[in-house]
């Protein structure tokens, strides 16, 4: 067994530039030094048992809590403290002691493994200080920018708020105006309607008279056509030549049927024909012109299919309605103006509503505790990689477009802030993007870090169709801690 028993360690610490030696068992942090007194038996820190002090760090685990082996790998749940003078002290799991891998920059974790570790604490400390300094600068500047953002956002918010208030005031007026104009419109429309109806009625009557006259003329004409022998009578046989009049549609107009049409008479003169005409006029085909028959057929079709077209336009017989008389036209013009005024006012109201809604929507977004994320609203930020152009439009959507042509893919629309409980504003979640084959809908998590500029710094797809985007913005910069000019010179002792 190559392992050491009780090993006390000399710790060289730097405090005010003077090296100080502080003895304590290996792996014990200074804060716990008082529990490890060489002259006394050791009581496990959980109080579970007391053992002779020479069993501390003897490479056998006696305490359930691992406290007797702070400097060996014997306990499964132990931890080892490295001082890392010049850098940052830390605890590592006991299992990393003497495992051949340098974990502590001061090399104290590998005291018996043969691993060649170099003390890198100074270097790490220097680098860390540089990084921290840089970060501190960024944070500082970023935080200043953030203050501006907050200021602007507050101003903007107030402006918007008051704009909404103003608009709502205006809207009230508009509402009233619309109502007033509606009344005007309705008042003007009533006489217009009546005048129009009057005009129409007169026109209908006129049309009926014309139609009657035409019918009579047609009847007379038909009588003449039917009266083949020109004896002034239409006989049964003369009527029979018109098979289309067949009432049972079996193709022939029998004598009895013809007689029936003629009201039982053998023949009719022009006056008695008047009672026959209504029974046959719909079916009657003129002998003179096929075209006429076609037209009447065509008419049937048109009439059978009611359309919105006005009959004037399709019926050659019917003439256009005569223009409104001056009085009516005046009423119509007045009503039209009232209508136009009303619609215009209503449109203005709708637009106003939209504007109010948009502003209210914007105001309803959670732009952070101090509204510092407001400035991202309705902006978009792009990052071009070797294959794609990624586009982040905060509070709206994330998308990806192939660099060399191809359609855009939606990587998610705004969902929610989803950072850890203590600061949910560190992550944004965009969800329900374009679906994946055999997979979920695409989604994107945007990780926000403090930076002077607002930029998308990287994108990746850690899991198929789940994207990760890194985004810097001053809005997440925290107030720099009250600056101790060299916070890391101070090592825990």
């Amino acid at each position: 067994m190559t392992c050491l028993h009780l090993l006390l360690t000399l710790v060289f610490a730097v405090s005010l530039g003077t090296p100080v030696e502080i003895q304590r068992p290996r792996g014990v942090p200074l804060t716990k030094k008082q529990f490890y007194e060489e002259s006394k038996p050791f009581t496990c820190l959980d109080g579970s048992r007391t053992i002779p002090f020479d069993r501390v760090n003897d490479d056998y685990c006696d305490c359930k809590d691992g406290s007797d082996e702070p400097g060996t790998a014997a306990c499964p749940n132990g931890s080892f403290h490295c001082t890392n003078a010049g850098y940052r002290p830390m605890f590592i799991p006991s299992s990393r002691i003497n495992d051949g891998i340098c974990d502590c920059c001061d090399t104290t974790d590998e005291y018996n493994s043969g691993a060649k570790c170099e003390n890198t604490c100074k270097e790490l400390g220097r680098k860390e200080r540089e990084v921290l300094q840089k970060m501190a600068e960024i944070t500082k500047e970023g935080f200043l920018l953030k203050q501006q953002l907050i200021e602007e956002a507050k101003k903007g918010q107030q402006e918007k708020q008051s704009k909404v208030t103003d608009m709502q005031e205006n809207k009230k007026q508009l509402d009233e105006k619309v109502e007033a104009l509606r009344t005007v419109k309705e008042t003007a429309e009533q006489p217009e309607k009546e005048a129009k109806e009057r005009h129409l009625k007169a026109w209908e009557e006129q049309k009926a008279a014309i139609r009657l006259e035409k019918d009579k003329a047609k009847m007379a004409e038909t009588f003449l056509e039917l009266d083949d022998n020109e004896d002034g009578f239409v006989s049964v046989s003369e009527l029979q030549s018109h098979a289309e009049l067949d009432p049972d549609a079996d193709g022939t107009l029998t004598e009895i049927e013809a007689q029936g049409l003629m009201g039982g008479a053998e023949q009719v003169d022009t006056s008695t024909f008047e009672s026959v005409w209504p029974k046959i006029k719909d079916k009657y085909h003129s002998e003179v012109s096929r075209e006429e028959a076609d037209i009447s057929l065509c008419l049937c079709v048109v009439q059978a299919q009611p359309t919105i077209k006005t009959p004037e336009k399709t019926h050659e017989d019917e003439e256009a309605m005569p223009p409104y008389d001056a009085d009516t036209q005046a009423l119509i013009d007045a009503a039209q103006k009232a209508r136009d005024d009303f619609e215009e006012a209503e449109k203005a109201l709708r637009e106003m509503d939209d504007q109010i809604r948009n502003i209210e929507k914007e105001l309803s977004f959670d732009f952070g505790p101090d509204a510092e994320f407001t400035y991202l609203y309705s902006q978009c930020y792009e990052l071009t990689t070797s294959e794609y152009i990624y586009r982040l439009c905060p509070f709206n959507r994330v998308s990806q477009k192939p660099k060399y042509g191809g359609s855009e893919t939606n990587l998610g629309t705004w969902g929610s802030w989803s950072g850890p409980e203590n600061n949910k504003y560190l992550l944004m979640k965009y969800e329900q993007g374009t679906g994946c084959w055999q997979g979920p809908n695409r989604s994107t998590t945007v990780k926000l870090t403090c930076g002077k500029e607002t930029v998308v710094t990287s994108t990746s797809e850690p899991s198929r169709c789940e994207y990760l985007m890194e985004f810097t913005t001053p809005a997440v910069c925290q107030e720099p801690a009250n600056i101790d000019p060299s916070p890391h010179d101070h090592v825990e002792l």
């Binding site: 003897d58 799991p93 990393r96 891998i101 084959w437």
Partner: protein, 918 residues
């Protein structure tokens, strides 16, 4: 990863879109495989074969005689060999084939050692051959031809007792016959003048000279060549083996269903519980009864179907007048009949016998037995680094991180994607600094691309498999159009191996190992997603060598890894396709499973079946490859996987990330604990693999292997043994609140390894479980060595001390072994540098004794603690070292559980020592 769907491959995409589960129509049933249909139409009855006893030739170790088929007068040559270790080899080939038939090379370790045979009796219709020892005889009956192997008056096995020997002899095609008769006239004339008259050709049946499946036509220039033989096993109800199938451990009756199929195939989203072929094939069947364990090794690499028929199948076990019997029938598309009958009689004997033929499990480097983290794909170097750090942040050990196909430049294996992995050595060095390793995939399909060095060399060296017309065979796979190197060609394999040299494989380092996937081979646009059977490997058709292709790929790769280290380092290569003998080259996994409870359950019988036929290094993708596991399933799978030989988590590219810490702190803790249990037990796993390597005994064993007389164990597949000393019953049911474990062994005791509670053997025990439970029991009478200081990788633990867990049997004694070496080189074999010790406890004395006095190895490891279960409280414990010094040991005794803990013996693990309790 399956031949599933690459967005680049519209054809494949189409194929896959429809498939939520396996698309059965892509794969043949017996009816759709012309030879299987022909063979299966032949029903049991009188065999047309007759042995011509006057042709008997007997040399010292070889007996041969001719068989004639009385229907067509074709003669066969039967050869019988008695092999060392209680085995009989039966070979049947055509006496005078038109051209040579394929005999599988490179699977047998060497020429098996034969033993003397003697004819002890003979009459006009039979021949009795002594098989040596134990009154074993082989009775050859001439008409109808059959073989019976008997011991005393008991028939152990009969061949052709159901008359299903069928040998489709090579023939010339009828429409071309007159031509070829002129060409090869001499032979035919000779046959025609045989005393028995003319050869009568069978009538052509469909599929003899050409066969079409879906859009693929198999040209079959050699016509029908299939073979078949039946074996009857009187007294046998339980048969096992012939992997790979996603089915029960005990093989099912195949009357009324398809036979079990052995034809290495890339099956997309395979279904459970059916006899369809999967990625690998080991044509070895094991029979077991309380009387005897035997094995049948059917050495044939062509498409093979196995029918199992048992007269007790589906019946409740009642005492009936009919003795149980299982009949097995093997049918292969080409080649010869070459069968090894392993006569046991004990399970361990069958394993030894089979190992003497095809070799034992390769002894993996220790780290390969640790935990592997895989995903299709870790996206880039940064991702690898982040995952590596994730393990440290969550204090979870792992040894290997894996890179799937996306790591290579356009799926050109042996290369790295220049934008994702621009500095592979930097990445590998980063892992090496953490004493961890990486596996990168190298598949056998090679992108046809004149700008790709590997392709150009293979093409210029003429190493590609050829199509039937003699051009380079090409098929679609991950890279698009791809060629397939002819791994059956030893020159090709040598060249392939040389490509793993550090100066050839740019960016590779010694902590990079290899994974061979898609080596069935998978051909996306080929028949049944594999290679056309009429493709050519030199003079042989792909038909002849198909099931062997994957073995060769892994062999050549493993050789490459050995050679790159100049023979020093043990290789580690994972393969998906395999054959008999693949155990010599590395690990296998059960392919593209799914995140479903059924797949978790089936991983046990699948790996047990493989273990029975020599392949111990088996595992299933933890978590399931396809689909997204629930946190519960994932945790349960880690718990089960931690106790299976090959322990690797893997996931399909389309699934959400599932590194162990992504399911909340509770589940992270549960997974961490499961993995830590694996690491603590690595010394035991390592010793078992050493044992498997030396003796051929499986690492993961069905209970019946250790309890062969206990009928109750014969069908158990939800629990198993690791070695003989640990019994594991993983929780594989969703929402389980308990499991019922069967603890075997009348008069034996078992100890719960977590609670130290003692249970009697020979009972079914209900164990309540919570999410943290992994029911594991240590056999009373065993000593297991663990390393309880779990660190971030197995390499970090190499010098750590051991804790001995001594579980006393009912007689108050226990035994175990401890094996130590450098954990990664061949020095254990070549320089005998290892420690192998016997630990035994009896009469209150525990001692460590050297099992290999001619070996030597110095280890820094020592004995830190000894925990003894089932003993009583001593008054003193004295350690006697090899130099005679004595010292008192402190101890603690827990009287409620009867657990004695000896504090810090401190002796070196390689030393002789004794501890006496008084």
């Amino acid at each position: 990863m399956a031949a599933s769907c690459d967005s680049l491959l519209p054809l494949v995409l189409l194929l896959c879109l429809s498939a939520q589960a396996v698309d059965r129509s892509n794969f043949k049933t017996c009816d759709q495989s012309a030879f299987c249909k022909r063979q299966r139409e032949l029903k049991p009855g009188q065999s047309p074969y007759r042995a011509l006893l006057d042709t008997l030739e007997l040399s010292n170790s070889r007996l041969s005689l001719q068989l004639i088929n009385d229907n067509n007068k074709v003669r066969l040559l039967l050869e019988l060999y008695r092999l060392q270790g209680n085995m009989t080899r039966v070979k049947i080939n055509e006496l005078k084939p038109l051209k040579p038939r394929y005999e599988v090379p490179d699977v047998l370790l060497s020429h098996p050692i034969t033993e003397a045979l003697s004819v002890v009796a003979q009459d006009e219709n039979s021949l009795v051959v002594s098989l040596g020892g134990k009154d074993q005889r082989l009775i050859l009956s001439a008409q109808p031809f059959r073989l019976d192997i008997v011991e005393g008056s008991q028939v152990l096995m009969s061949l052709n007792s159901r008359g299903l020997l069928a040998f489709e002899h090579l023939r010339t095609r009828k429409d071309t016959k007159s031509e070829s008769e002129q060409a090869t006239g001499q032979e035919n004339v000779e046959q025609q003048t045989d005393e028995d008259g003319q050869i009568k050709e069978d009538d052509d049946k469909p599929g003899m000279w050409e066969e079409t499946f879906k859009s693929h036509t198999d040209s079959k220039p050699n016509g029908p060549t299939s073979i078949s033989l039946d074996f009857s096993l009187p007294g046998v109800e339980h048969v096992y083996g012939i992997p790979e199938h996603a089915d029960t451990l005990k093989l099912k009756n195949t009357d009324g269903s398809d036979p079990y199929r052995l034809y290495n195939l890339d099956v997309f989203q395979y279904e459970l519980h059916n006899p369809m072929a999967l990625y690998g094939a080991v044509p070895v069947l094991i029979s077991h009864s309380t009387d005897r364990t035997m094995g049948i090794f059917w050495l044939n690499a062509a498409e093979t179907w196995v029918d199992i028929s048992s007269n007790t199948a589906g019946k409740v076990r009642v005492i009936s007048s009919e003795a149980p019997q299982t009949d097995v029938r093997w049918m292969s598309e080409s080649g010869i009949i070459d069968v090894f009958i392993m006569l046991g009689p004990k399970p361990a004997d069958v394993f030894t016998q089979y190992a003497s033929l095809t070799g034992t499990q390769s002894f993996p480097p220790l780290s390969a037995l640790a935990y592997h983290q895989c995903r299709w794909n870790y996206n880039d170097q940064e991702d690898v680094k982040t995952v590596d750090q994730g393990f440290d942040e969550h204090d979870i050990p792992y040894d290997f991180i894996w890179l799937d196909i996306e790591h290579a430049d356009g799926k050109r294996y042996f290369t790295w994607d220049p934008s994702k992995f621009p500095q592979p050595k930097e990445m590998l060095q980063g892992l090496m600094d953490k004493r961890r390793k990486l596996v990168a995939i190298v598949d056998p399909h090679i992108k046809v691309d004149s700008g790709y060095k590997i392709h150009n060399e293979i093409r210029s060296k003429n190493f590609y498999v050829k199509n039937k017309d003699g051009g380079d065979y090409e098929g679609w796979c991950w890279p698009g159009n791809a060629g397939y190197p002819d791994f059956t060609n030893p020159e090709m394999r040598t060249w392939w191996a040389s490509q793993f040299a550090y100066d050839q494989y740019e960016g590779s380092m010694e902590n990079q190992y290899i994974w061979n996937d898609m080596n069935e081979p998978s051909v996306f646009n080929g028949p049944e997603v594999t290679m056309h059977k009429d493709a050519l490997h030199g003079v042989w058709e792909h038909r002849d060598v198909h099931n062997l292709y994957g073995l060769y790929v892994q062999k050549a790769t493993a050789d490459g890894l050995i050679q790159r280290s100049e023979g020093v380092q043990r290789p580690f290569v994972l393969t998906r396709a395999f054959f008999a003998g693949s155990q010599r080259y590395g690990a296998v996994w059960t392919g593209d499973n799914a995140a479903e409870w059924g797949h978790l359950k089936i991983s046990i019988p699948m790996c047990l079946s493989l273990g029975l036929v020599g392949i111990s290094f088996c595992g299933a993708d933890v978590g399931g490859f396809f689909k997204h596991p629930s946190a519960e399933l994932l945790v349960r799978w880690y718990q089960a996987g931690a106790y299976q030989p090959f322990f690797r988590a893997h996931a399909h590219i389309d699934t959400p990330r599932r590194e162990p810490w992504l399911f909340g702190p509770e589940n992270t803790a549960l997974i961490r604990e499961a993995i830590r249990q694996r690491y603590a037990l690595l010394p035991y796993w390592y010793q078992l693999f050493y044992n498997a390597h030396r003796t051929g005994q499986p690492v993961m064993r069905p209970l019946w292997v250790e309890y062969p007389d206990d009928f109750a164990t014969f069908s158990i597949e939800d629990e198993y043994l690791i070695g003989k000393d640990l019994l594991v019953h993983p929780v594989t049911d969703e929402g389980a609140t308990g499991v019922t474990a069967y603890l075997p062994g009348k008069g034996e005791v078992w100890y719960d390894v977590h609670t130290f509670q003692k249970h009697d053997g020979d009972q079914s025990l209900y164990i309540p479980v919570t999410m943290s439970s992994i029911p594991v029991f240590q056999r009373g009478g065993s000593i297991i060595c663990r390393k309880d200081r779990v660190r971030r990788s197995s390499s970090c633990m190499e010098n750590d001390p051991y804790t001995l867990y001594v579980a006393l049997g009912s007689q108050g004694s226990a035994e175990g072994e401890l094996y130590i070496d450098d954990f990664h080189t061949f020095s254990f074999e070549e320089a005998k540098q290892f420690v192998h010790r016997r630990l035994s406890f009896s009469a209150n004395t525990l001692s460590s004794r050297n099992l290999a006095p001619d070996s030597q190895f110095s280890t820094a490891s020592w004995i830190e603690k000894i925990v003894i279960f089932g003993g009583s409280q001593p008054s003193s414990a004295t350690l006697k070292s090899a130099d005679g010094t004595e010292s008192a040991l402190e101890f603690e005794f827990d009287s409620t559980l009867a657990v004695l803990t000896l504090r810090k013996p401190g002796v070196n693990a390689a030393a002789d020592w004794t501890i006496v309790l008084r």
